[in-house]
Amino acid sequence: MRALGRGLLAAALVTLPLWLADPYYLHVAIMAGIFGVLALSLNLLLGYAGQLSLGHAAFFGIGAYTSALLTLKCLWSFWPALAAAIALAAAAGWLIGRLALKLRGAYFVLVTISFAGVISLVSVNWIELTNGPLGLPGVPAPDLGPWSLRTKPAYYYLVLSGVALSYAVCRRLVRSRIGRAFVALRENEPLAESIGVDVTHYLVLAAVVSAAMAGLGGSLYAHYTRFVSPEVFLFTYTVTMVIMVIAGGKGTLAGPLVGAVLFTVLPEALRAAASWQWQMLAYGLLLVLLVFFLPRGIVPQIVASFSGHPRSAPGSRAPLR
């Protein structure tokens, strides 16, 4: 039954450009995929290791700028630029992880916000490198050997691979002793230390992997929109990621993806149905309702209602096996 469901979902995703040929719908699917990568990335840190990063757009932006600059100014091709974007974002994640080691809770959140603020200021003011607020137009579309991935269906498959890769990394980590160590830190840090979990090592690891994944999302974004500006550092991006993770279900593997699809499709659907003010109102109302009625997120609620344990525990329960 579950295997059948998964098979159908995979088939639907792979054949999507065939039955959803409208470029506008494909655009929405691509954006949902990019945000899916970002939400998976944030979830690793927030949902599993239990650290809220409100500067996650910084890693996204670092990925986007690295990839754009290397292809535009150094004329690198897409693939090495993508690898460099991931590596540089990971290095930034390492830095934040080290800096934030002694800080938890609100203090960690403040460090991540300030970090994003600083990076954003750099992107606005280092005009020789970043072209300042005007941004970097003309980021090239990626190639795969002789094929250009310029078309929407081709780019859809690129993003789908990125989502699949990120999901696989999360899944393997979460179901290993590493994922259990992350969850141990979230659940009870002193106890985690008492059983030998090295807090430094695992917090830094969570930050590095999470940032690397956000860098992947940034690179995919830059080569899709073909334009990068300081707007990639906007707080809105971080907030969107947080909403996706929490509404979908933090600390679950599927939750962030469900959240990403829902909160990419919904604003687009509302745009067709209502004027801008009504859109925001409906969006806000839906959020409030979600938090009220599904406080643990959509995916845990569905899992709970199917397995017959509606009140297993407060907070999120990470599937460990």
Binding site: V169, R172, L173, S176, R177, I178, R180, A181, V183, A184, E187, N188, P190, L191, A192, E193, S194, I195, G196, V197, D198, V199, T200, L205, S312, A313, P314, G315, S316, R317, A318, L320, R321
Partner: protein, 255 residues
């Protein structure tokens, strides 16, 4: 393989919590630390296990210094503790709690995990079997898949004990394992502590329940106002005039 504490001093600002405490825990023994509230028992535990940096003195295990190490590094050397206030991973099942406690028994690194090595599957299933064994040992087999925070208090304390055992201790420090338990539950815990010792684990215990302490300890150390005032067998301690004075005040006979 002796855990020894010499001249241990801890002060918080102007308050002296421990003032030159020295003792050695004989390998394979059950040693209890008792004393009135505020005597410094938990402070000593926190200093030994790295949760608190002592202001003076030395803590060694098997000749090697422990002072200055992080709690996780001390755990890796086989010195594992439990906490006075129940400490579990609340939203995980009993099985996942213990599986998490097996962290030090597994070896997979980041790249092993990403590569999805075949050996990992074998390691995971052997860990699951280990976890089941430990859960059965503490008598929580019937709670295997239940969420730990939903268990009754006494059983949560058993989860805590199972977690500590999963870390494969050579010295196990138990901070009031019987606190808040019913008489029957305390008997169960005492029996478990004895069984753990039979497996070659040294036990250092902080406990207020005198019946439990006197029933299972080989050696009892008495702390008062941050100093060791007596050390000996349960019989010697019960007859020690300073101990009686510390617990009951002066001019009273033994209870």
């Amino acid at each position: 393989m002796t855990l020894s504490v010499s001249d241990l001093a801890v002060s918080f600002g102007g308050v002296t919590a421990l003032d030159g405490v020295s003792f050695a825990v004989r390998p394979g023994s059950i040693t209890s630390v008792i004393g009135p509230n505020g005597a410094g028992k938990t402070t000593a535990f926190n200093a030994i296990t790295g949760y608190l940096r002592p202001t003076g003195g030395r803590i060694t295990y098997d000749g090697a210094a422990l002072s200055g190490l992080r709690p996780s590094a001390i755990a890796r050397r086989g010195i594992v503790r439990t906490f006075q206030r129940t400490s579990i991973f609340p939203s995980l099942s009993v099985a996942d709690n213990v599986l998490t406690g097996l962290h030090l028994r597994s070896t997979a690194g980041f790249f092993d995990v990403l590569a999805g090595r075949r050996r990992l599957t074998a390691e995971e299933s052997s860990l699951a079997a280990d976890a089941d064994g430990i859960i059965a040992f503490v008598g929580l087999g019937h709670r295997h898949d239940e969420i730990a925070s939903a268990l009754p208090y006494g059983e949560q304390r058993l989860v805590e004990l199972a977690l500590a055992l999963a870390a494969r201790p050579r010295v196990l420090l138990l901070d009031e394992p019987g606190a808040g338990m019913t008489g029957v539950e305390k008997t169960v815990v005492s029996e478990l502590i004895r069984k753990v010792r039979e497996q070659g684990v040294t036990i250092l215990l902080v406990e207020h329940d005198m019946r439990m302490v006197m029933g299972i300890s080989d050696t009892v150390i008495v702390l008062n106002h941050g100093r060791v005032i007596a050390e000996g067998t349960p019989g010697e301690i019960q007859a020690h005039p300073d101990v009686i004075r510390a617990y009951l005040g002066a001019q009273h006979g033994p209870a």
